[in-house]
Symmetry: C2
Subunit: 127 residues, 2 copies
């Protein structure tokens, strides 16, 4: 995949502080089910900060990051998808604080390719 | 790259609201220079939310996401790097609000390979 394709991605970032007593595993299972049901979600990754500085986290503990090929996939297809609407109400009930950022990604330092294929040798010019 | 390699990545996520009057382009240039100088930063991408819902953004506008191969690259090499220490003071002076999350990534739905092989048909249950 060329760099141009990567440059045009659109991200949906959610950082969350869950309410006390919420079974976070269940919420995450619901989110995994959600992204598996909606094809326009190109990739989904998440993490929990367990070692960072509490002061700089401002109480937030989890980050969820979805990637779409283009913003229309997010705003048109994902946001209005019945599975998303259903999950949103579950999710909203579980959170104590949330920040949501949606943005086109600028990839400044792309990951190095794990095993870049050698460039094909140019065909020799006929003598 | 196998999925296991992706699973072991470590992310440094920063979301920011800049102070009024800050020339954000200059800050971002500084950050680009920073990540180009520190080899353990495996990839760096950022974005600005210009269309999201203001209420859900809580004033935050920019997200910066760095990826490392492992958390030691972040906590040991990156955090203590002289270029990082120097940039941190510039950055701190420019921000009005910040949330910082550092976490190992769990990649639930990996990006599809550009030319995925068809999934093998599941073996039928014996009758």
């Amino acid at each position: 995949m060329g760099e141009e394709a990567v440059m045009s991605e659109f991200k949906h970032l959610v950082i969350v502080k869950f309410k006390e007593g919420v079974v976070v595993e269940d919420i995450i299972k619901g989110m995994e089910k959600l992204v598996s049901e909606i094809d326009v979600v190109k990739s989904f990754e998440w993490g929990q900060d367990v070692e960072g500085q509490e002061m700089l986290r401002q109480g937030f503990t989890h980050a969820f990051l979805m990637t779409f090929n283009k913003k229309e996939d997010y705003y048109t297809t994902f946001v209005t998808h019945p599975s998303h609407l259903e999950f949103s109400s579950t999710f909203s009930a579980a959170i104590d604080n949330i920040v949501l950022l949606d943005f086109p990604t600028l990839l400044v330092k792309p990951s190095p390719a794990p095993a870049p294929a050698p460039a094909p040798a140019p065909a020799p010019e006929p003598a």
